[in-house]
């Protein structure tokens, strides 16, 4: 990939090949992130498509001196996800005729614990642990001071650790490891 500034200039010049490469490179990661915060695979694909479409149609708001293009993309994706929650969350929840119950998709213990965290903690942990964003990038994406990012990350990790350790299977594993 070209550096961010050059890539952005090409996108602004309507260079489809450059944008397609950007989409192929970052699309799967953005989709995985959205899937975690929306809890819905189909919605994640839709919101990812809308995010890229929005950037392609109206490429503005990216400042290379402040953050990376990837941080800008994830920030845009997160905003679209928030809009989805406001507009589709309650609507899709009520569509249908007969009630069904909820199940999480994650199969692993950490995955189960992660799915139980509040949305803001899931977002923060995913962006840091999986996407590897720096504190400065996280501050840019989330619109919070760096000091707040640090303390929130600690709180999120502790919450995940507590929820994870509270699951019966995790306790069993812990006993086995101790034996």
């Amino acid at each position: 990939m070209a550096d961010d500034r050059e890539l952005w200039e090409r996108i602004c010049r309507r260079d489809e090949d450059a944008f397609d490469a950007f989409y192929r490179d970052q699309g799967p990661r953005l989709r995985a992130f959205l899937r975690q915060i929306l809890g819905n695979a189909q919605a994640a694909v839709d919101v990812m498509q809308e995010t890229f479409t929005q950037i392609w149609r109206r490429p503005n708001g990216f400042a290379p001196e402040r953050a990376t293009l990837r941080a800008y993309l994830f920030g845009a994706g997160r905003k679209r996800a928030a809009e989805w929650w406001r507009k589709e969350g309650s609507r899709s929840a009520d569509v249908g005729t007969e009630p069904t119950s909820c199940k999480t998709e994650a199969s692993s213990l950490v995955g189960d614990a992660f799915a139980r965290l509040p949305e803001d903690q899931r977002t923060l942990l995913w962006l840091r642990e999986v996407e590897g964003h720096s504190y400065a990038e996280l501050a840019e994406i989330l619109g919070t001071p760096i000091g707040t990012v640090r303390s929130r990350l600690f709180a999120a990790r502790e919450e995940l650790r507590k929820v994870w350790h509270a699951t019966p299977a995790a306790k069993l594993n812990a006993k086995k490891e101790g034996a």
Partner: protein
Amino acid sequence: MKCEDAAEFVSALYDGERIPREAAEHLGECETCQGRLETYSRMLAEMRRMASLDEATELSAGQWSSKERMRRSWWSKGRQPVQIPRLAFALMLAVIFLLSGGLVLVRARPNLGGPVLLLTYKIPQTGKSVRLAITTDANPETNHRSYNTGNSSGVLYFSVRFVSKVGERVELSVKSAYKKPVGDAKEHDVKDLPEATEETIWISPGENKEILVAGFGPIELSGEFLDHVPALLLSPEETLDPKTNELRIVSPVLVRGKEVVFNGAGSWSIGSGDDDLAVMIYLPSDGRYLISTAPFTGAVEASVGLGQIKFNLQGRDYLLLTAMPTTRSEHVWVTHEPRYRLSQHMKGEPDDREMFLVRSLKTLLAEQMTHYSK
């Protein structure tokens, strides 16, 4: 230094930050803090494993590119010159002149070639029909719609998105999926569904298209144009008045005194058939309000007006405003439970999200209830 004081520095150290000398010394000696660091590391590895599984799924073509290329292709073709015999050109002008009066008549007729496409899904297996209205433009907020329905025999999901329009022919991206129960499971959620299959179809008004849903069978799709977006998207043919034994809540706004405490603009929930229907409005900071067409224990009586329900709870005046009349009843009954928590009533639902829904009062008052999740 104590472990609780050092804990935040463990997180910082894990992120590659420098930490104070006192904290560093404590970490070197304390097994609890070292264990915490190790746990963080294990959690990170597992999260990255989850991400790797997710990212491995194939990426579909970007919608941004297909629309853009299609537009560009038509544009460049439109700019190319064509050769046409003089006689054919004169004939074409004559035909245009003769038809122009007719064209005016066609354009003035209602519901033809309008900006809204009303789609009907017929589900032969259940005898049910579902209607969805989408706009035929580039507005991503109105040009797609999804629907899911489920019961003990499985969950059926489908969605439709406008892609392009040529004359009265419309290109749609259609997705569908179906899942049967596994083992003894009696209930499902759309989150359990396999990846929806996607196909692109062209449809004209009056035409029937068959969509094959894997594991379920064919469903039929047909469409017609409307010149407006119907107020009730799932029941576009409905009139403004609710039916007997029907409770409609469309775009509700709950006002306490002069304060708006809930705003569900653009969403709706409708129930029918039961004589004890109720709407539940849930607010993370204020518990839940139940408004029922039947009296129940602890409820106060409220008056029903045109698109308004007025009541007084504990000396405070409330007004529920809705975009459409809610019920044929003149009175409804209301309670407020400030300590109600959604997660304790509906397993798996988050407590921090506002919501409202219409169900039978009996269902809403049950100790546990199930509900379609997002």
